[in-house]
């Protein structure tokens, strides 16, 4: 069997990847060349959000467990990467109480982001061990409580995070190109994860826990591994974000941000990579538009009061509407595929090497 036919079969099966990645790259290149700086910023932010939402999809979408603590791992990655890469002098000025050992750290940005991801993964491994043994509803409440714990630690530990105050002076690294490359990698990783044996087992346990056990799936174990993998990517996403925004405080990793991530995932459809992608696109556009509306209305003083929190309110209504009419999200649980690429007979496909 020729290499070409193998490739054709492969691309037929995985046309989803091309359908998501090609428009993302084209739009990125166009904006990079012709876009205004505002548009450039929005697109970079969009790519970073995409990494966060895809990493959320990896665990939550595949296992069906509402993962509240996700943004906490993003925060861990952001702080870790910021502390590792910011110049000692900047840190000693900006974070007066920081542990001397942490002040001395200084490394290039890319390894800092990687280590940030690893720290988030290790933390996930520690807290996930008991958590993944809980039943679904109790587990979700505990994950929510864990987010609060993360937030309290971030706002109180001023030897590390500068407490509730802003941590500033993080070296700028994330340009549109960096964010775009990160998003492309995240798409591939999340897609590969969903199709992998672990992802498949995780999805099976989401559909029916007992049937999953009857085919020999250790539900606790696959959830545990899924949780750690998702936290690893979330931590790296946090690093990429930190080097884009360059100064931030713990409130960036709390409920309202988590809510936006959830909206992005749920509106698009948490069961698929395509859903996460479409949801992120849609919510980003809607959010920017609402922000413009909010600003215009407030500046024009047409109302006797300032409009505030319009974005969140509209997102909430949108999310409820979607959950009522399309519980699976706009895209649903199946990946979008190229309709012209009909899949061949299954036996042939297996023979061609899948």
């Amino acid at each position: 069997m020729s290499l070409l036919s193998r490739f054709l079969t492969w691309s037929r099966q995985h046309s989803t990847l091309a359908l998501l990645m090609i428009p993302l790259v084209l739009a990125g290149l166009a904006i990079n060349a012709f876009g205004s700086s505002l548009l450039l910023n929005i697109y970079t932010y969009f790519c970073v959000s995409l990494i966060m939402v895809l990493s959320l999809q990896m665990f939550m979408g595949n296992s069906g467990i509402l993962n509240w603590v996700h943004i906490g791992f993003v925060g861990v990655g952001a702080y870790a990467s910021a502390i590792l890469s910011t110049a000692p002098m900047v840190k000693s000025m900006g974070v007066p109480n920081m542990f001397p050992a942490l002040v001395a750290l200084n490394m290039p940005v890319i390894p800092a982001i990687m280590i940030g991801g690893l720290i988030a993964a290790v933390l996930a491994a520690i807290i996930g061990y008991p958590l993944m043994r809980l039943s679904d509803f109790v587990g979700v409440i505990t994950l929510f409580a864990t987010l609060i714990v993360f937030h309290v630690i971030m706002t109180q530990w001023d030897n590390v995070t500068n407490g509730p105050r802003t941590f500033f002076g993080v070296p700028e690294f994330t340009t549109l190109t960096v964010a775009l490359i990160g998003a492309l990698i995240a798409i591939m990783v999340a897609y590969w994860f969903r199709e992998s044996g672990l992802g498949l087992r995780l999805r099976a346990s989401r559909d029916d826990r007992y049937a999953a056990m009857s085919v020999g799936i250790d539900v606790v174990r696959v959830r545990y591994y899924g949780f750690i993998t998702s936290a690893l990517i979330a931590g790296m996403a946090g690093g990429v974000w930190a080097h884009f925004i360059t100064s931030f405080s713990p409130k960036a990793f709390y409920m309202s941000e988590m809510f936006i991530l959830l909206a992005m995932l749920v509106i698009g459809g948490s069961g698929s990579i395509s859903g996460a992608f479409m949801g992120t696109t849609f919510v980003t556009i809607a959010r920017e538009a609402l922000r413009q509306v909010e600003g215009t209305v407030n500046n024009a003083h047409v109302l006797p009061f300032d409009v505030f929190g319009l974005t969140e309110a509209v997102m909430a209504v949108l999310m409820i509407t979607i959950l009522i009419w399309r519980p699976g999200g706009v895209v649903g649980g199946q990946e979008i595929t190229w309709p012209l690429f009909k899949r061949k007979s299954p036996i042939k496909e297996v023979e061609d090497g899948v």
Binding site: R201, M213, I217, V219, V350, E351
Partner: protein
């Protein structure tokens, strides 16, 4: 010949409610055995104990000479015992292919997977047509076929079917029973749990009739037919669970 599966003096309970009382049964290699009884007789409880979902209060369950009571449910299939759960518990959002692949995961080898798929398509041609569709879109009978195929992908030494005819149309029930008979003729060892005693007795070698958590009758299909008035079991006759109505 030593039996493949031996259940001895098994008792199990849900909290204070005793569901199984000292039941014993055996399944020999190459045999198809039925576990019959009305609702609440203890059929599903027996299966739950065998698969490790429920911890028995006492008694032993031996599979190929190895004690498996108190094992983990997910380890059951690795030992060679596959269960087709009651109510066609397939994975509804996963495609037919993914459902089958999950069945094969216990000992996944691509070459064998390929051969097994071909075999499943011969047994269940409808699955080939529906290969890339989500399992949830299949009809009831097709889902039952998928559930059986998924269990067979693991190459079980013993296949356990929990109420395969539940909720199916009579025509589809016929088809499923025909298929199960076909599996038996291919040499599979099968433990069939059924309410539909009349139909089940038509295809099995031996049967155990459970009532109120105890084995009331056991023997070959012929013997059971001769000894027990099957209809009376379902209408609460003397042979079935003793139940006294006082006015």
């Amino acid at each position: 010949m030593t039996p493949m599966l031996t259940v001895e003096n098994l008792s199990a309970s849900y909290g204070v409610v005793r569901a199984l009382n000292d039941i014993s049964l055996e399944v020999n290699e190459g045999e198809m055995v039925a576990l019959l009884g009305v609702n609440g007789a203890g059929k599903s409880t027996t299966l739950k104990s065998i698969t490790g979902v429920l911890r028995p209060v006492k008694g032993s369950i031996k599979f190929l000479g190895q004690e498996i009571a108190n094992g983990k449910p997910e380890a059951t299939v690795k030992r060679g015992l596959s269960l087709v759960p009651e109510g066609r518990e397939i994975f509804g959002t996963l495609t037919v292919e993914e459902n089958l692949r999950l069945g094969a995961f216990v000992s996944y080898q691509r070459d064998r997977y390929k051969a097994d798929l071909k075999e499943m398509f011969e047994l269940f041609p409808i699955l080939e047509e529906r290969f890339t569709q989500p399992g949830g879109l299949l009809s009831g009978g097709e889902q039952q076929m998928l559930a059986i195929a998924r269990a067979l992908m693991a190459h079980p030494k013993l296949l356990m079917l929990d109420e395969p005819s539940l909720g199916l149309s009579p025509a589809m029930t016929d088809q499923i029973f025909e298929l199960i008979k076909g599996l038996r003729d291919r040499g599979s060892t099968i433990l069939l749990v059924e309410q539909n005693a009349e139909r089940a007795l038509g295809i099995v070698d031996r049967a155990y009739l459970l009532a109120s958590g105890e084995v009331q009758y056991s023997g070959t299909a012929e013997e059971i037919r001769r000894q027990v008035d099957i209809a009376s079991v379902y209408f609460g006759g003397d042979d079935a669970a003793p139940c006294e109505v006082t006015q």
